[in-house]
């Protein structure tokens, strides 16, 4: 069978960070080709290259034998490449029928909308994916999995030749999953090529024909699914080289600073979280994207306050209703989305660093500009933040330096608990090791650090203990000396009973 889609030695770098380093990939018509790898292995970059959202730096792409030179989203769509993401991109204020119709229908702006036909078509497509959703419902009223089914229906309607599914079953029930698989099999029989991304490895054995494993932006292996076993896949996914030597310092641990007991938050989707962090300790929080790690951090920081359970700070129960309260209690959070939450891009470096400590740089509400400057300057020096001046907007800094500003603003607040959410994501190698060194130094000074990271070597290299989360719950706790990439990934991927894992 001829290859439907071929990629040869695709490379792509972002701000000097290599996301794809010469990846080749082949998709046949009538094949379900699974794509797996850890977070950050390069799956989404590869997908975005195929859908035209990213232009590769080099490499070649062919569709049905014809080279694609300048891929754009609209080109890709015209070729019949459709993608369904975890976060559906639908119009919330329009009905299901209309969402499916938009993008499929073409014609003049003055053409008449055939509602009955739209509804019938939507009904048909929804039936094919087995979604029990009325075509007249507004999308904003649907749950996330329902929206996903609508997206799949829309892709079916576009009679896509290549269908990319990014974790389509992540939020589906067993019955919905089963139905989806039937749809996938039907599509396969119609010669559609499907790229299937999933962290549920056992699914792959049910649905995939072949599997390609990526690691660190590189191609690792492609196998027929019948040739491999689950442990094989895990072994292929991990084994990242430890790029940097982690400057882990042994620190004498102090008392427990932060502790949670059966902490739950419905809005954040986390339940019964028990964890503790001691002074001088770095606790790693591992898990897949969507496992509830960021949600836990947001609850601890008062952004989505807990419904039930307790948070204890130095053995005192505390209520954390908003970030201001969290900050006052000495809890700091360096968020994952640094550009939106971590810094204020349009404000100067100095104002960003001092935003959390406005009270300290002021007397009686009056900002002491000298104090502001000297505080900011001292952090710029201490974290070696590279900026043209203290007055430059943070937007003009590189990613790594922006992250250092996000860190600096909370170090300035002198917290006792520091939560770091993907502290080195999208940061160049130099800044990365600087941030790691700083973490060690902070731990030595008695800070309790909770580090969320999707990068297993980082988790293994920096943490004293590692909690693994899955589905909003903690599924395991590993000590530094017993933790391995395989064990963590196994816990994060699930399908084991709690008892066998708890150590």
């Amino acid at each position: 069978m001829a290859a439907l889609l071929e990629l040869h030695s695709i490379t792509k770098a972002f701000a000097g960070v290599q996301a794809l380093g010469g990846v080749s990939f082949e998709l046949l018509a009538g094949e379900v080709h699974a794509l797996i790898g850890e977070n950050g292995a390069g799956k989404s970059t590869l997908i975005k290259t195929i859908t035209g959202a990213h232009l590769p730096d080099s490499g070649e792409m062919r569709f049905a034998g014809h080279p694609i030179t300048h891929n754009t989203p609209s080109n890709a769509r015209a070729l019949g490449i459709a993608a369904i993401y975890q976060q559906p991109a639908l119009f919330p204020d329009l009905t299901v029928a209309e969402n499916i119709a938009l993008g499929l229908e073409t014609g003049s702006a003055w053409r008449r909308i055939r509602w009955a036909q739209r509804r019938r078509r939507a009904r048909e497509l929804l039936d094919r994916v087995g979604a029990e959703i009325s075509a007249d419902t507004f999308v904003r009223q649907l749950t996330m999995p329902q929206q996903q089914l609508v997206e799949i229906a829309r892709a079916l309607g576009a009679s896509a030749k290549v269908l990319i599914m990014d974790e389509p079953t992540a939020s589906l029930s067993d019955r919905e999953t089963e139905h989806l698989f039937r749809v996938i099999k039907e599509l396969r029989s119609q010669d559609v090529g499907i790229i299937y991304i999933s962290h549920r490895l056992e699914e792959l054995f049910q649905i995939a024909d072949r599997v390609t494993i990526l690691r660190d932006g590189k191609w690792v292996a492609t196998h027929a699914i019948t040739e491999v076993t689950r442990p094989d896949l895990i072994r292929l996914m991990v084994g990242r080289e430890l790029a940097a030597v982690f400057p882990k310092i042994t620190v004498d641990l102090g008392d427990v600073v932060l502790e949670t007991r059966q902490l739950s938050c419905t809005r954040g989707g986390i339940s019964n979280i028990d964890l503790s962090i001691r002074a001088g300790e770095i606790v790693g929080l591992a898990g897949l994207v969507g496992a509830g790690r960021t949600e836990l951090a947001r609850t601890l920081f008062g952004l989505t306050p807990a419904d039930t359970g307790e948070i204890l700070l130095r053995n005192q129960p505390v209520k954390i209703k908003n970030p201001a309260r969290a900050a006052a209690l000495g809890i700091a959070y360096v968020p994952e989305d640094r550009r939106r939450h971590g810094v204020i891009l349009d404000m100067p470096v100095s104002a960003n660093i001092t935003l959390t400590i406005l009270r300290q740089i002021a007397s009686g509400g009056w900002i002491r500009f000298g104090r502001e400057r000297s505080t900011a300057a001292s952090f710029v020096e201490r974290l070696s933040i590279k900026t043209a001046s203290l007055a430059s907007p943070v937007a003009t800094l590189s990613g790594g330096n922006q992250q250092k500003v996000a860190l600096a603003r909370w170090l300035a607040a002198e917290p006792s608990v520091l939560i770091l959410d993907e502290p080195t994501q999208g940061v160049d190698v130099g800044a990365k090791s600087e941030i790691h060194r700083l973490m060690g130094e902070l731990a030595r000074r008695g800070l309790a650090i909770l580090m969320i990271s999707s990068e297993l070597p980082e988790i293994l290299g920096m943490s004293d203990r590692i909690h693994v989360m899955r589905g909003g719950k903690i599924t395991g706790l590993l000590h530094r000396d017993e933790a391995t990439q395989e064990k963590i990934l196994d816990l994060a991927l699930g399908h084991h009973t709690q008892e066998t894992l708890a150590s």
Partner: protein, 337 residues
Amino acid sequence: MTTLDLPPGNRLKRLSVLLNPQTFLAALIVAQLILFSATGTNVLTVDNAFETVRLSIEVGLLALALTPVIITAGIDLSVGSLLSLCAVLFGKMLRDAHFPLWAAIIGTLSVGTIAGLLNALLITRLRIPPLIVTLGTYSLFRGISEGITHGADNFTKFPASFISLGQGYFFNVIPNQLPLFLIIAAAFWLTLHRTTFGRALFAIGFSPEGARYAGIRVERRVSLVYVLSGLIASIAAMIYVARVGQAKADAGTGYELMAITAVVLGGTSIFGGRGSIHGTLLGLLAIAVLQRGLRLSDLPGELALILSGVLLLAAIGGNQLLSRFSTRRRPAMTAAP
């Protein structure tokens, strides 16, 4: 790397100083003065300067109050209506309820504060967009004012001591309300540009979420801004009454839009985060000089409206170009190794 960034940064800086709205406005005001002193009579006299200022104090106060509102990416359309309500209630308290002057003043200030609080609560607690909330209270406040006066009642005969606030002069030249305005303007400038509260407002304007993640109590800060806006509207109401010697329901009609024009003209971004009190003052002055200059030159006063509208478009268009320029620069600087 630091040195690599400098040249484009400097060039950008020099350009933005040149194109900065304040520089532009200052130049504009000077140009106007030169032009009008050629076409009009008595333009460059001390008397005229003070008279120009005296007539724009109420709008000026509203513009001061609106500057922090717009900096937080909000808007307050209700200030003109609230001015009317406060003016009418002030008259009512004095004439019908026989309040002593001091009590009427305190009463009026309280009305303004409470009205501002109403806006604040609807905006921060119910999370209704400020445009809609203040559109509703725009109607509500003016409506209550019309209801109380039956649309026709006119309060006059205010105590002479009070009227002198709006019609009297220090040393026969400086209008009495000017020092008050300057004190309030200075207070606003200091608050916005020199205090932690002001700093928080800028952060909120740029990114409310970013500010929340930095531990700032966004709702409280924003509430205070709207309360302050109500309070200032009540002060403006009393100065208005003192200047014109009467209080009717139609007081302050259209003032909100004049004030917004001055604020935006002064370089405050309607998207929040950028702006200054001195910019607003320059914006006010540019409009005031324009109006007064046209009148003294025997040119139609409507030209002032048209020209201020054109200026507003030019200011926004210029800002747009400038920001496009700087964002295009940004990736290049970020990508520096």
